[in-house]
Amino acid sequence: MYLAKITIILRKSILDIQGKAVHHALNSLHMNLVEEVRIGKFIEMKINTGDQEEAVRITNEACKKLLANPVMEDFSFTVEKISEGFGI
């Protein structure tokens, strides 16, 4: 069993208005050293395979086909081996 941890975030070229609003809020909390905030999604998937390459292939396919929209988002992920029955 593998656990994929996927991060999806708006492409750099796109203004992240949500991040900008949160940035303003942090500044109003006097956290003025915060330079930029970008907000994305974090997804975990348990993949029922013993083969790391297969886990990577499936995660990559899931990101490309559904989890991320390449027009506006970039994705990155890691996969790690977990023991059976490990809850997310």
Partner: protein
């Protein structure tokens, strides 16, 4: 005023909420042969045009339209569109069409970060299409919007291509037809409110023409879009008999 009867299908996804509005306008205002198409259906039932209605398909989970685009009916809609069939995506339907790759670009969160529900003015950018032939280029239509993610985005090359090919159909404008920053409700690139594909048979727009089509409840500028579509399906020689439907 009677209209030549065409077959329209309105797709119903779980979470669609403008499906009945579209159905009502086509069925009761324009007297078209209209039916609902369930998202699990694997046939379009021989319709001449498909409407993907507004709403919140699959709760807008993941991204607006991202899950609806994998509904069984979308396989048929895609084949139908690729075969030249008329497909109209309104609001959430526009988002589904972008996710499905039937239209370029994507719809981001409104720049103001709020859901906006109000009447806007739209300038018709190209009236030589199957969706706008009853309008004049430069004409201003008064039609409502209701969305949280209507901020149209596409890369510069795509925008240039859309512009060059006349695929931009509607832009948010001021009442006198000027394209200004103030008249852009959601921050969309180039004030874009609606586009069509390169072959001119698939249209997506954020505004709701079906909410501006019954004279009983207000402005009827949205009728022109439905009239254009009915006309384009019907033989062109019958087109001259068309006019705005008045309700007694």
């Amino acid at each position: 005023m009677s209209y030549p009867k065409q077959k329209f299908g309105v797709v119903v996804f779980p979470g669609s909420n403008c499906d009945h509005d579209a159905y009502y306008v086509l069925k009761s205002i324009f007297k078209q042969d209209t039916r609902f198409l369930w998202h699990k259906d694997s046939s379009l039932d021989g319709v001449d045009a498909v409407i993907l209605p507004g709403g919140f398909s699959y709760g807008d989970y993941l991204r607006c339209g991202a899950i609806a685009r994998f509904s069984p009916i979308m396989k048929e809609v895609t084949a139908f569109a690729n075969d030249g069939g008329i497909v109209i995506g309104i609001c959430n339907g526009f988002q589904v069409l972008c996710e499905a790759g039937l239209l370029p670009g994507a719809l981001l969160r409104n720049e103001c970060l709020t859901f906006i529900c109000k009447f806007v003015d739209l300038r018709v950018e190209n009236s030589e299409t199957r969706f706008t032939s009853e309008c004049k280029t430069g004409e201003v239509l008064h039609i409502p919007i209701a969305h949280g993610e209507g901020n149209y985005f596409a890369d510069d090359d795509t925008l240039e291509r859309l512009e060059k090919n006349g695929q931009i159909l509607f832009r948010y404008c001021s009442p006198d037809g000027s394209i200004t920053k103030e008249s852009n409700p959601n921050g969309s690139s180039g004030n874009i409110a609606g586009i069509m594909n390169a072959t001119g048979n698939v249209m997506g727009l954020m505004p709701h023409p079906e909410r501006a089509a019954d004279p009983l409840i207000g402005p009827i500028d949205g009728q022109k879009i439905f009239q254009s579509v009915i006309k384009s399906i019907t033989k062109y020689e019958q087109a001259n008999n068309y006019s705005i439907v008045e309700r007694s």
